[in-house]
Point group: C2
Chain length 461, copies 2
């Protein structure tokens, strides 16, 4: 360990220099004109992975951008880690809002600015440099390692699922390690252990069979906008709870330990509300803001439309009004089942004066890697050693579909050991990673690989 850490210490400048070279490749996956750049980034990584001692390195073509694979499998009897990352980046527009050119990474005030620094090239590089340190000093890793780096994360990972499905034997592992999420704040290391799922619905509410003149017909039929508003307003009760029968049945309650952990996070409702520009927050009574967004299922209207929406006044009583409504799910809710509960409830409450059509547009399962699982425990210990302070526990209110796919196809949990920070401008101008997070991340990666086998062995005894 001493020599591994010493190697890192001795090579900090070179590490940064190499990362800058990777960041210089404009691998914007959504721009067809950058397709060759995306491929160039894949090849650069492939060569770099070979140079640090990884084996079976290969650039796999897909119908879209390629996936880079590499492994090191000589830690017999030890656990296998599947390291996932992505080397494609978001577009850089509006370009004039960047302080320095997005593809010429620059250090200012202890931060490295450039597209991809946090999301996700910088975070991939954290692990590559830890792996290099192991292989160039000890000549071995404490675990077996498989890497997959994709080039389509920013455009929906369209070809990853089929790749994992087809090569499930090659990718077999004990857990997935992913570094693509932020800390709770600058120098506030945190481990994210849960993601919410999603059931995304559409309601079309139909009243009269044609648009009517609201003067000549107003007051005789149920206006579908009003009927839809009545349906929507009935989906929450006065305590902010979702009223769909059975909605909370499968919700895994927060443990006392989790609630304590969330309470320790430096969160202020007043600051949160001020940042969003609202006088008062809203949500399910009996839960804190962080509990609500991370660990409670919620229902939100994502869109609504119907009738006349232009400038001025048009006296129409529309035939139809529609809304997009999505529910965020937590373990152990299921997307399909929740969609069914929603549809059944809407059909039950819709008045006889209108008709509704309910569609299930999209779904994703929630994911959790319990805080007592070996992977999370190893990450917590590693963060403590890597950053010199006890990490915080957090979840994320959104979804990461890949995590759900890994669970579904490979049957394994993902440890979300991210080193970014909330204000990192991941999809905006002036994206950055703090150098303290970058170097602390490399140390944490070293400790993670070091700790994991011990904790898993302990677990099995």
């Amino acid at each position: 360990m001493e020599s591994v850490l010493a190697y890192i210490e001795a090579n900090t400048e070179r590490y940064l220099e190499e990362l800058r070279r990777l960041l210089a490749v404009p691998s914007v996956s959504t721009n067809p004109e950058n397709a060759a750049d995306v491929r160039r980034a894949a090849e650069w990584l492939s060569e770099h992975m070979q140079s640090i001692g990884l084996e079976h390195v290969e650039v796999f073509p897909t119908p879209g951008h390629p996936i880079v694979y590499g492994d090191w499998l000589h830690a017999e009897g030890r656990p296998t880690v599947l390291l996932y990352g992505h080397y494609d980046v978001q577009p850089v527009e509006p370009i004039d809002l960047w302080t320095s050119p997005p593809f010429e990474a620059a250090v200012r005030n202890g931060r490295l600015y450039g597209r991809g620094t946090a999301d996700d090239k910088g975070q991939i590089f954290i692990h590559l440099k830890s792996i290099e340190a192991f292989l160039k000093t000890a000549g071995a890793l404490p675990v077996n390692l498989k890497l997959i780096l994709e080039g389509e994360e920013e455009i929906g990972s369209d070809h990853l699922e089929a790749f994992v499905e087809e090569r499930r034997e090659m990718l077999k592992a004990d857990l997935v390690l992913m570094s693509d999420t932020p800390f709770f704040g600058e120098d506030l290391p945190a481990i994210c252990y849960g993601l919410r799922g999603l059931s995304y619905m559409q309601i079309d509410c139909v009243g009269p069979n044609r648009d009517l003149h609201s003067g000549s017909f107003g007051g005789t039929v149920h206006n579908p906008i009003q009927a839809l508003a009545e349906i929507i307003s009935g989906l929450h009760d006065r305590r902010g709870r979702v009223t769909i029968p059975g909605f909370y049945d499968d919700v895994r309650p927060l443990t006392a330990k989790e609630r304590r952990a969330f309470k320790q996070l430096p969160h202020s409702d007043r600051k949160y509300a001020a940042d969003l520009g609202v006088r008062e927050l809203y949500g399910e009574k009996g839960f804190t803001t962080l509990e609500r967004v991370w660990a409670r299922p919620t229902l939100e209207c994502n869109g609504i439309w119907g009738g006349f929406t232009g400038e001025g006044a048009k006296t129409v009583l529309p035939s139809k009004a529609s809304a997009k409504i999505s529910m965020r799910l937590v373990p152990d809710q299921r997307a399909d089942r929740t969609a069914k509960l929603f549809e059944r409830h809407i059909r039950k409450i819709v008045p006889r004066t209108v008709r509704v059509n309910v569609s299930y547009l999209h779904g994703g399962e929630p994911a959790i890697t319990p805080i007592d699982s070996p992977g999370v425990r190893a990450a917590v210990t590693a963060l403590k050693k890597g950053f010199g302070k006890k990490p915080l526990y957090q979840r994320e209110g959104g979804s990461i579909p890949i995590v759900v796919q890994f669970k579904k196809i490979l049957g394994i949990d993902t440890v979300l050991l991210g080193f970014g920070q909330p204000d990192e401008n991941a999809h905006a101008p002036d994206e950055f990673i703090s150098l303290s997070h970058f170097y602390g991340g490399i140390r944490t990666s070293v400790y993670f690989f070091q700790e994991l086998p011990h904790i898993m062995e302990e677990e099995q005894r």
Copy 2:
């Protein structure tokens, strides 16, 4: 009277032929390329009015299309009728849905088909032919008469108000006579004596200061679509009544006579619902469908929009949602006052979790010409004699802004003695007027001019 009616009888074919010539002029006011045609229609009418014996005939230019004026003012001591009509027509598209060319009026099955037959050239002509019959036989009219025929009704009557305002002395009269509305059905003569007014509002409901990711923020702030839905759904109670305090304060109750009259109309809720394709009607409890749409104030959502409204699923928690909401008013409600009641109520009920902006976009006053007023009584007697059956009483749920302007500027009520029918396709292909309505209308016009002075005299005694 005998000779007047005999003259009409003897000239039916010529009357129809002359109307066809007027209908042949494509005076589509909204098409700039038809501007000369609109002017041609005005000049045709001006010449025709002179030929039948009207005096002071003049085509008044406006910044838009001209207004045709004419009068006959030799009935000393008798009431003065201001006859209003419009000679402009709606566009004819889609042209291929017309059975015969829109500007070559054709008779089929007792109906005259062509653009403007019902709305409003045919109905103007009804009165011109009754006037002609009086002046060519008796050499005099039983009343004083002033005519204004405008060319911009179908595009909002933009220059009529200023014209009436500037020439209020010239237009001074005891009542306005307007024939631009339908009967209750074919051969079901009816007199329309009330119109609803309008207060048209917009609510913008603002939650967070920017669009948020519904995963990362869902469950922590009040979604403005949900808040708006809650506001809208609270605007009606379970009995279908509008909940705005004071909303019904100024509503003039239906008289027992009016309610009886409406009940006599051949209306079927089942047929009405079937025609609109709804299983059940909706509205204020305690009132019939016709009472609700004609004589009760109502509140309708005309449009709603917010968040993501495209195809598929986008997980946004929008910053803002908006709705257009209009209230239809009945005497003696006032548009401004109702708009204020609305705004005050919304401001009172809006929760602290969101902000609202309430705008008053447009307003118009309700209008009524009581069924016991001399004008309506004369119309009822005239319809009874002209069509051989007792007419029905009806109101109209929409507004006719000109009626309100006449009341405001000239201080007089309008008698809506329309001879069209509900399925006349006024703004659609195959517009028609039934020949029985056309000829019955001419006789009714004769009787109206005949009866009015007697009834008014009676009234004054």
